[in-house]
């Protein structure tokens, strides 16, 4: 009996220790949820939640793929169901193993490979460092595929240790210094939908690029042999499973030698190839790097819409893919729309439209006046402010101080007066703390909107507005409308 008790006690103790250790590992794991630039953790978690055999197209590749191929857009326009399994600097070794993993759950008709890394770091087989490799591999479920992937990774990069993929705390325990709210909300964050792996931005690049002509040169580029070996493997697996392949090089300031190499390779392997850096395609989709890229090699939202549309046409016309409705995509469209609305907001310069667009329950809105904000206020603007639920009118309140907070469609603070004003409180059930200060011209001439310790106010004359998205848990826009002037210019 005593022995049984000891065995039971030991098992219980080890069970509790093991569970605590598992939770600790989960806490330390580097996570990239839907509210971050490259939401890899959410992307792969959402992929596993997709209905079996419901995805027709899979995208693999680097950040170029993540920035350029929008699955929801493809569905909205062509009713094609797709998923982007790319990741920043996704090595083709990783693409290969993610393809094997994906095939356990889906039966895609087409696989689109973005092969940029084949031209990078010829001396380094993986091309990518451990940090980025882990973004793709850590969210993969434990299986033979994952073990094989890790084995290969460790064989190519001797610095990496197999055991650290099994026990991530070996690699990540130093993250204790950087743990944040999202790390402690793993279950909730992982359950949240994402935009199927894509990165959306509306920033623009100031650089220019001249697309090449096929006839410019017949030079070819050197390739990374390991990457080539794995693109071969990807094609082999696809062919074995009857999946069509499209190699697509996104706008990345590519040159004719890259085109020649990939074109020759595609012919050799008998697969489709499209290069968005090549003149005829570049011009046919009306691409303009200055407006459609957000930096050297990455497309922004405008660019991605053009690229995705072109890919859609290829899928329909060349691959004969037929669209069909899918409830999952219908539901996800709401989230996709919300993200797009957030980006739209940052482009609005008209105060009336802006006040209309921020009137959403998911936003927390912070308003603070600096200097003077009443002279240029039209009745229309006052009505829009009133529609937000604000009750104190700024009309004829020359150089008055004013601050207000609207959270979830309700005004939670509003102050108007001739002295310096301030309000402090919290949103999201106390998880984010704000402090607002407003001082008219004669009582301090300042505006501050501090959220979680950071001042987001533009601190300019007029209405300083900060919009915080409670779903994304971050400030999505900060603008000042100079309502002292009749023109009511927006400053960002």
């Amino acid at each position: 009996m005593k022995i049984l008790k000891k065995i039971f006690t030991t098992i219980l103790f080890l069970g509790i220790l093991g569970f605590s250790f598992f939770k600790l590992n989960q806490l330390f794991l580097n996570k990239n949820f839907y509210n971050q630039g490259y939401p890899t953790t959410s992307c792969y978690a959402n992929f596993y939640r997709m209905e079996k055999n419901s995805v027709d197209v899979l995208f693999f590749g680097t950040s170029h793929s993540v920035c350029s191929f929008y699955p929801q857009e493809l569905y909205n326009k062509y009713n094609i169901t797709s998923f982007n399994l790319g990741c920043e600097q996704q090595s083709l070794v990783i693409s290969y193993y993610w393809l094997l993993e994906a095939l356990k759950y889906q039966k895609p008709k087409v696989v689109v490979i973005e092969p940029y890394l084949i031209f990078r770091a010829k001396s380094s087989p993986l091309v990518t460092g451990e940090g980025l490799i882990r973004k793709s591999i850590d969210p993969m479920k434990f299986s033979k595929t994952k073990f094989a992937a890790v084995k290969d990774i460790c064989a190519f990069d001797k610095k990496q240790r197999f055991v650290s993929y099994l026990i991530p705390s070996i690699r990540f325990h130093n993250r204790w210094k950087y743990l944040n709210e999202d790390d402690f909300s793993y279950t909730e964050m992982i359950a949240h939908e994402d935009a199927m792996g894509i990165r959306i931005t509306n920033a623009t690049s100031k650089k220019s690029y001249n697309p090449f002509n096929i006839s410019d040169s017949d030079k070819t580029a050197d390739v990374n042999q390991t990457q080539k070996e794995y693109i071969d493997k990807i094609i082999d697996v696809c062919k074995k499973n009857g999946i069509k392949i499209l190699i697509a090089l996104a706008p990345c300031f590519g040159d004719v030698s890259m085109y020649n190499t990939l074109s020759d390779y595609s012919k050799e392997r008998d697969v489709h190839f499209v290069d968005f850096n090549e003149y005829s395609i570049y011009t046919s989709i009306n691409y303009n790097v200055k407006l459609d890229n957000y930096n050297d090699g990455h497309t922004n939202r405008n660019g991605a819409l053009k690229i995705t549309d072109y890919i859609g046409k290829i899928l329909v016309e060349d691959f004969g893919l037929q669209g069909h409705t899918d409830e999952q995509y219908e539901l996800r469209n709401a989230y996709y729309k919300r993200i797009n609305e957030n980006f739209d907001l940052t482009e609005i310069t008209d105060i009336n439209t802006y006040l209309e667009k921020i009137n959403r329950e998911r936003y927390s809105i912070f308003i603070s006046v600096k200097d003077e904000a009443s002279k240029g206020l039209s009745d229309n603007v006052l009505r829009k402010l009133s529609a937000l639920g604000l009750r104190k009118s700024l009309k004829d309140r020359y150089r008055s101080s004013y601050c207000a907070v609207i959270n979830g469609g309700k005004v939670i603070e509003e102050k108007l007066g001739d002295k310096k004003l301030s309000c402090t409180g919290s949103i999201r059930n106390g998880k984010s703390i704000y402090k607002i200060e407003s001082a008219g011209y004669l009582v301090g001439n300042a505006s501050q909107i501090i959220i979680d310790g950071k001042n987001h106010s533009k601190n300019r004359r007029g209405l300083n507005i900060v919009v915080y998205d409670n779903e994304q848990k971050k400030v999505i826009d900060s603008v000042c409308f100079d309502t002292c002037d009749k023109k009511v210019k927006a400053y960002r």
């Binding site: 220790l17 600790l24 055991v163 705390s169 070996i170 690699r171 325990h173 130093n174 210094k177």
Partner: protein, 527 residues
């Protein structure tokens, strides 16, 4: 045949890679678990064979073939000589001759393999011409520990305090007990032979306390020692650049590092031995609670001090007294005449303590002659100190006086660590002292400068918290007769489990290990 050879080669490489480990590595614990399983599967009577095999594989894989041969040769000479003593019980001269020859052979090899550099430096022979590093590579792991243990065995057999072991394999099992090979403690054959050779029944409580001891050792090593090492390495690695309080803090941290590193390692070794049901002697007894340098060395590296006391100091003292006593009586006062032979014997002992740490003057001075000088000066000026205490009406029983003595002893040790650290020479340590005393820069604690040397504010917070835990545990240990583990065992199950699970998770979280981090070898593993 080729397949078999291939298999042996692969197995050999696997074992080598598996054993190339330090005491805090996952590999060490994996292999320890394997040995434990086999150990407890074997019948009690034959369990020593498992340890014997583990010892051989451990030495072979860490130090390779040549070293194993050297180790076996040395151990065999000791074992064989001890057996010969029994044959020549009545013939003292032959016994003495055998003893001297065996001692010379073993001690000579120890010095030759480990400390030859001392003599080449002394004779100013260029290192390239001496192949010193080649011989150093031949030194089997833990030679300083098992060689001294074996010498004590030889002397004990010679004096007849223990009987010689008849079975050589059993002798190797005890003398080369693998957990002891990395950094001791120095054990005596008579104290451990029975525990290791008779085999132990699985004791659940003992097993648990063994694991607890290992966890505590890991805490000291990974959370404290490795953390302060970051700061210490930064300052000592570029000592010309850092002045004033930067250096004082490095002195303090290096003292903490030495203690938490060495005692942490000993905790792991003792805990590992407890898993086999073997109790090894303690090597530390709250050294920083010492009120004098002599007391400090009775509490620090206890087994080395005791070894030198029993096998060097006591046998040597009568000789020194006989040779020097008469001469001193003629030349000095009565008090000094009595003291000088003692000091001479102490000089030899302290020199050997320093020399044991390595054949460099920094070790000989930093962990030997520095303390000898302080002890001698303390005794020399004892009447003066007593007079001062009397004039100043100091209550030597008061808390403040005891605290002063403890702080003074700690500062002496702390200052000594700088002498110990620099192999480049004594002058380098003096430069460090000059840097420490030369500049007064207290603002580094207030303007954030202190956080730019590898340990940021968060790391400092963790360090302070960990040191507080160490201090509390030490205080409880000082106040209670039982071990802290026994005190915890008296508590309720929820508290106990929360405490141990909390400590393990604390180590996992705040330990300095893993990616991009090369663990410091245990400092005393080098000796």
């Amino acid at each position: 045949m080729e397949n078999i050879l291939n298999f042996i080669s692969v197995a050999n490489e696997f074992i080598f890679r598996f054993f190339t480990l330090n005491l805090t590595s996952l590999k060490f614990f994996a292999i320890l678990s394997g040995i434990l399983i086999v150990y407890y599967i074997f019948p009690k009577k034959y369990r020593w064979i498992v340890i014997f095999c583990a010892n051989i594989i451990f030495v072979y894989t860490i130090s390779r073939k040549k070293c194993l041969v050297i180790m076996i040769t040395m151990l065999f000479s000791i074992w064989f000589s001890a057996r010969l003593f029994e044959k020549f019980t009545e013939r003292q001269r032959i016994k003495k001759l055998i003893l001297i020859l065996t001692l010379c052979f073993n001690a000579g090899l120890l010095v030759f393999l480990k400390d030859a550099v001392f003599f080449t430096n002394l004779l100013r022979i260029p290192v390239e011409k001496t192949h010193v590093s080649f011989f150093q590579r031949l030194a089997p792991i833990g030679i300083s520990y098992w060689c001294l243990s074996s010498i004590s065995y030889l002397l004990d057999c010679y004096w007849g305090t223990i009987t010689a072991e008849r079975n050589f394999a059993k002798y190797v099992t005890v003398a080369g007990f693998f957990p002891l090979l990395v950094s001791g403690p120095l054990v005596r054959f008579g104290d451990t032979a029975n525990q290791i050779l008779e085999g132990n029944k699985f004791d659940y409580d003992g097993f648990c306390t063994g694991i607890q001891r290992i966890v505590w050792g890991m805490f000291k090593k990974l959370v404290i020692a490795e953390r302060v090492a970051i700061y210490v390495n930064t300052v000592y690695g570029n000592f010309d650049a850092y002045k004033g309080l930067y250096v004082w803090l490095a002195f303090l941290f290096f003292a903490i590092q030495l203690y938490s590193d060495f005692s942490g390692c000993i905790d792991i070794v003792l805990g590992a031995a407890e898993l086999f049901g073997i109790k090894l002697p303690e090597n530390f007894d709250l050294p920083f609670s010492s009120k004098s340098v002599s007391e400090f060395w009775r509490r620090w590296h206890i087994t080395l001090g005791a070894w030198l006391r029993d096998y060097v100091l006591y046998p040597l003292f009568p000789v020194c007294q006989k040779r020097l006593g008469k001469l001193c009586k003629r030349l000095f006062s009565n008090r000094l005449a009595k003291k000088i032979p003692v000091w001479c014997t102490l000089f030899i002992s302290w020199f050997l303590i320093g020399f044991w740490h390595g054949g460099y003057w920094n070790f000989i001075i930093g962990s030997g002659l520095y303390y000898w000088a302080l002890i001698v000066l303390g005794e020399l000026f004892e009447p003066l100190f007593k007079k001062m205490i009397s004039i100043l009406h100091i209550n030597t029983e008061s808390f403040s006086w005891r605290l002063f003595q403890r702080v003074r002893t700690f500062i002496i040790f702390m200052m000594g660590t700088s002498l110990f650290r620099f192999r480049e020479g004594f002058l380098t340590s003096l430069k460090m002292y000059k840097s420490a005393f030369g500049v007064w820069n207290p603002w580094i604690f207030f303007d954030g400068s202190i956080f730019k040397l590898g340990l940021d504010a968060k790391e400092f917070n963790v360090l302070i918290f960990a040191l507080s835990i160490l201090l509390i545990v030490s205080y409880i240990k000082m106040k209670t007769e039982n071990s802290i583990r026994a005190e915890i065992a008296k508590q309720g199950v929820v508290f106990r489990w929360a405490l141990w699970i909390g400590l393990i998770l604390f180590i996992v979280t705040f330990g300095i290990y893993g990616f991009g981090f090369n663990p410091q070898d245990f400092i005393y593993g080098g000796f």
